[in-house]
Assembly symmetry: D2
């Protein structure tokens, strides 16, 4: 482990061999303001800095933020470690149970925690914009999402997240429409349709790296924050 430079953000990546874990490791490697202090992975041969197999192998007192893109099964262990070591947590783990979501909320009373099903900054920006639709009178709304044919959930979790935000502004809307085909990485479109005008907002993810970039931005943002449960909306607001 190279000596940390002043002000470098010291990160541990949980789930380093997963697709998102690898994106984060690869993106972080290009940024001298970040230091990957350690990586938790079951693959000991992972080409990453200081691979350890378990949370218990992480060095204490040397990590500013834990970034977790592993699996719900590990969540308890991750939460416990962060709590014990008073280390901020950025989690993009999906498929959490209600109990696990509650666990994250409780954790926010002790350390700063950010959980998001979609870490893209662009989706966060779009989601915040939806509040602006409350000024429209007599409009209908529809969310539509397009993804590659291998995507199983329908509609996407991001579409449901956007629908929550939209409905907070304009009331009930129809279920999001889903298009599946080819290799489309991820398009989300929100229609606002009035008698004499139509507004559409659209977000296109070009690749998976967009989520890694958002996670690293969240990690930078959360260092030094007071305890609390945060979202990507907090990150982009400041």
């Amino acid at each position: 482990m190279a000596k940390s430079k002043a002000n470098q953000l010291r990160i541990a990546v949980i789930g380093g061999s997963g697709r998102m874990g690898q994106e984060i490791l690869s993106l972080a490697a290009t940024d001298p303001s970040l230091e990957i202090v350690a990586t938790v992975s079951r693959r000991a041969d992972l080409p990453a800095p200081n691979v350890v197999r378990k949370m218990s192998g992480l060095p204490k007192g040397k990590i500013d933020v834990v970034i977790d893109f592993s699996l719900p099964e590990v969540l308890d262990e991750v939460c416990t470690w962060c709590k014990t070591n008073r280390t901020a947590l950025v989690s993009g783990v999906t498929g959490l149970s209600a109990a696990q979501k509650k666990k994250i909320s409780s954790l926010g009373q002790i350390i700063p925690v950010l959980w998001a099903p979609n870490m893209s900054v662009g989706v966060a920006v779009l989601a915040e914009m939806l509040a602006g639709f409350k000024s429209l009178q007599g409009f209908e709304f529809q969310i539509e999402e397009t993804h590659h044919k291998h995507k199983k959930d329908k509609p996407s979790g991001t579409a449901l997240f956007l629908q929550d935000k939209l409905e907070a502004a304009v009331g009930p809307t129809p279920e999001p429409l889903a298009i599946r085909g080819g290799g489309v990485f991820g398009i989300h479109k929100i229609w606002a349709m009035g008698e004499e005008e139509t507004i559409t907002l659209e977000h296109s993810a070009l690749n998976r790296r967009v989520f890694a970039r958002g996670a690293l931005r969240a990690a930078r943002w959360i260092r030094g924050r007071p305890a609390g449960v945060y979202t990507m909306a907090d990150v982009i607001r400041s």
Copy 2:
């Protein structure tokens, strides 16, 4: 009735008081190469040339093409008149029974007939383009249509027409998706999605006049053709 100029196309409009009938009358009035010889309408006070209440009131030997945008109930009468008077027919009447569709086919053995559920030239052009998709390998396809909230059929007849054309090229595709809201006049979009590239074709009707313009183009085209059943694809091809 003003004397027809040489080469003017002499038209009778059936269903002159309907929304499409009025569009045709209004568009034709701006074009000196067209003469509205007579209009069939139950509204005697319709501000249109030579309004008569019934097909039997139409002048014989003075009409090149009958344009019918009235109702299925009148179709028999319209067909009989055109057959007896050997006059070409352009029909945009929807909601026909199977027997009525057959009647139109039979009529094509005696006079030139064109029937189309959507007379827009742009939709016809788009529909022909879909054959080009047969060159794509390993693509998924999806049709999507957006219309104002008052539109009742779902998916639109035009979407189903486009799906027929699409499936002739690429095989079975999912049911068209329908979005309803505001005053959108009519958008049809065809997605072709491959692993590494996406193609979309989109048609937007800006107003109802587009169908009137197509009907008049069809009427010009059909004058002097041999007996037969034609479609908008024939009109745009030549």
Copy 3:
């Protein structure tokens, strides 16, 4: 003049024979909560309520809001009348000189005034959303507008208005791109392009009535406000 009902908004329309004036008269006629008290027009035969030829012909004490879509030449007269009669003004007159714009600002010290180059509520909503782009890091931006082939200004005034709002959030951006063709009523699109994601916001006006609807909403909103210079952003915020 029919007796005003309680709470009806009493309006005078200046420039009643212009295209926008006619849209406002036609839309207002369908809304029982509005009363067109008088119309100023040089065309005495205009089919509108209580047509007078000059501002001086307007009834005093019976008008809540003056809506002006006439010409810069009349602006002085309109301002003087509103000031003298302490009547709110909603103006969509374009092509104002710097001196005239200043006149409107001064007027705002005495009565409530709203001036906007584009009264569409949707454009106002979109314009406010652009502030959200300030959260994006390392993005490029581009505005693009599409209008019918008869539109002379290039880029459109609305595109320049949107660019102002955009640049307030993200700094300098390239000149808006303009596409001209057919009968497109008006499309404005804002691109935000990052390394791994793209956001686009798009507004489509379906017809001219959208501006009339916005003007009437502004008129309803401005009644009873304190003196001041307002914009459509104020209208949609509350």
Copy 4:
């Protein structure tokens, strides 16, 4: 070199260390119906089958198709080798001089040759569709392309290729508009705008692999063809 299976297409890749060369090698490796017989590259350590430094190192009589994505400097050598060995050539080399283009044409009298500035099948399909626009009367047209900020040519070569095809159908059109920003891999959009309807055709490349896939499809197609100069349009037609 593993023994070729019956019917396997035997390929040599020229320019194996370039970005397109690597895409082709990587894509071909996943397809058992293809055999990379040899790779020409200046990098001897390239992780590819049978790397040789020069055309002269290629095995004779064992290659069905040469795929060249190297540089104009090598074109003469490549052409000579293919001519001498009567081997089909698929070339995606750009920046050719007029003399070099002529050389390719001449080569087509002896062997089958395909050259294309954009090997994407989708762009070829779109380009063929443009002929359908000749049926539109009174429309305006505009091509628009969007690419990442590092792209230097403006408008893109593909936009100019599409404009050629478009103008063959509809006559002169304005210069393509270019948008540059972020990491957009490549979007090409063709607008057809009429008084009452708008058609848009859009192609989005999701990644560079789309060109490799097209090149391999072209290679499969050209094996066993008679001598001649072919384009991607020929490939997709059959």
